[in-house]
């Protein structure tokens, strides 16, 4: 395991109030890596940075639908 990466995860964990031993920190670092890998599929999606995501249903749902 990359020591810098482990140190970063340790700092983040402490900041979140988690007191983890080295074994759990390594597990957490692996989980974080897998999670970030999973999120890569979203990189290509452009969002509006000023939209703070108060989601609504688009009116397009009902426009022109077959009845």
């Amino acid at each position: 395991m990359d020591l810098d990466r482990l140190t970063e995860v340790r700092l983040r964990a402490r900041s979140a109030g988690l007191d983890l031993d080295d074994e759990r920190l390594e597990l957490l670092a692996e989980s974080l890596q897998e999670f970030n890998d999973m999120l890569r599929v979203l990189d290509r999606i452009e969002v509006n940075p000023t939209d703070l995501a108060l989601e609504t249903y688009d009116p397009a749902w009902t426009e022109g639908a077959s009845q």
Binding site: G17, S31, M38, L39, V41, V47, E55, A60, W61, S66
Partner: protein, 464 residues
């Protein structure tokens, strides 16, 4: 008389009670006898209230004798997933830290709706720890007790399939109503996110959580949905809307996105799905091939948002008493706790883009609904870590079973999963109909027509 409670639908139970074919006491007694006979194998229940249930059944019969009941669910035995508050009973959520939690003082809004409409709440059904998973141990699948009933509403689905109760309440954040419905051969309705109150339900991921029914038919699920939506006056009209003979789908446009929803699917599931398409075509539906490009993103967003939000809910527990948490929940919460806030905000923003993409797809192709296999696979054996595909490749059970369900939690659309056949081991396969927001009954029209034409709802597990 002896009732076949394993096959008895809610619709037929209501008719039988109204016609005097059997009493509420007889219905409750047969349900409890079936529960007793199957409990060692199926283990669907955390706690039941048999004495209180029999007293309420007798009271329902007295009420029926002396007046015409105005409550549409009078005397119907219902199970409640054990993350949903039922006044007087503990809400343990299959969490060690909540084993001795104080009993709930009030009913959750969903329970209150059913109780007000006359249902008898039989007890609490097994769920996964904190509703975060698809196994629901120790509950088992009535079609093969060596296999899982899915999750996290696994106890509810198993109890319905085994005839322990006529229907049950579940919750769905990433598939937790539809996964158990699919693997137990029952019907599960995930309503539109935000439509039904989740007050009194232990949260998993509030921006994704929904509550809904698990039942034996589309008609039954619609009855419960209307009760939950406090639209009980419309229940009587459902008999005309959902005739036993079914209906046609002439002119209905139904989309299929094969690139995502038929990728890495067990062969028997693909066959059942293609057969279902043929049935829908024979009913007059127009099957439209579409390509929802954001399906993978939708899946990832549901999974990621759920991890962050559930971490916020369990943060105190993981700091103060992590030893009381199972490894899966603990790891999930620890990961969520160290993710930066901007990751979460971006996920919410991406969700909006994904919602717009599916709305545009429906509009562009003038779709009434989409269909997809509910799951890529049938129920795995308890203890198996991976789903095995026909080419020998594998996928972790939790990842596989949420692959086709999670995207619809991201979009928030209503989805109903109904049986569409069996695999070579005679394990049930589910078909999902995905509708437009707040159009649960219109969606049920399509599912009902298929259900009656295909006839899979007539099959029940052989338990005793």
């Amino acid at each position: 008389m002896t009732l076949d409670v394993t096959a008895l639908t809610l619709d037929h139970a209501l008719k039988g009670l109204a016609n005097g074919d059997f009493s509420t006491v007889e219905l409750m007694r047969e349900s409890l006898l079936m529960l007793d006979a199957t409990d060692a194998k199926i283990q669907a229940w955390v706690e039941i209230q048999p004495r209180q249930a029999m007293e309420l059944a007798a009271a329902a019969d007295r009420r029926r004798t002396f007046s015409t009941p105005t409550t549409p669910l009078l005397g119907i035995p219902i199970g409640v997933k054990d993350i949903i508050d039922l006044a007087g009973m503990r809400t343990r959520c299959n969490m060690e830290s909540r084993v001795n939690v104080d009993p709930a003082i009030n009913d959750a809004d969903a329970v209150a709706s059913l109780r007000r409409d006359g249902a008898i709440l039989l007890g609490k059904t097994v769920t996964q720890e904190a509703a975060a998973g698809v196994i629901s141990d120790p509950a088992r699948n009535p079609w093969d007790p060596e296999r899982i009933p899915g999750g996290s509403s696994g106890g509810s689905a198993a109890a319905v399939a085994a005839g322990n109760c006529i229907a049950a309440l579940g919750t769905d954040t990433g598939g937790s109503i539809r996964i158990p419905a699919s693997v137990t051969g029952t019907v599960g309705l995930k309503p539109t996110w935000g439509q039904l109150s989740v007050r009194g339900i232990f949260p998993l991921s509030p921006s994704l959580d929904t509550v809904g029914p698990i039942a034996k038919t589309v008609h039954d699920a619609a009855i419960l949905y209307l009760s939950l939506a406090r639209r009980q006056k419309e229940i009587a009209g459902l008999a005309n809307r959902f005739p036993e003979s079914g209906g046609t789908l002439t002119g209905k446009r139904i989309g299929v996105s094969r690139s995502f929803f038929l990728d890495r699917v067990q062969a028997d599931v693909t066959t059942a799905f293609e057969d279902a398409i043929a049935v829908l075509g024979s009913l007059g539906a127009e099957i439209v091939d579409v390509d929802w490009e954001e399906a993978t993103a939708a899946r990832v967003v549901a999974s990621a948002i759920s991890r962050v939000e559930s971490s916020a809910i369990h943060r105190q527990q993981v700091r103060e008493a992590p030893e009381l948490m199972g490894e899966a929940l603990r790891s999930r919460v620890e990961l969520g706790a160290i993710l930066p806030a901007d990751t979460y905000i971006r996920l919410r923003q991406v969700r909006q883009v994904v919602r717009e993409s599916i709305a545009n797809l429906y509009r562009e192709h003038r779709l009434e609904a989409m269909i997809a296999p509910t799951l890529p696979a049938t129920a795995p054996r308890s203890g198996e870590a991976d789903i095995v595909f026909d080419d020998g490749s594998t996928e972790p059970v939790g990842t596989c079973l949420t692959r086709f369900t999670g995207p619809w939690n991201t979009t928030g659309q209503p989805v109903i999963s109904i049986p569409c056949g069996f695999d070579r081991l005679r394990l049930p396969i589910g078909l999902s109909f995905i509708g437009k927001p707040n159009q649960e009954l219109e969606l049920s029209d399509l599912a009902h027509a298929y259900e009656r034409a295909a006839g899979w709802f007539r099959h029940s597990p052989n338990l005793v």
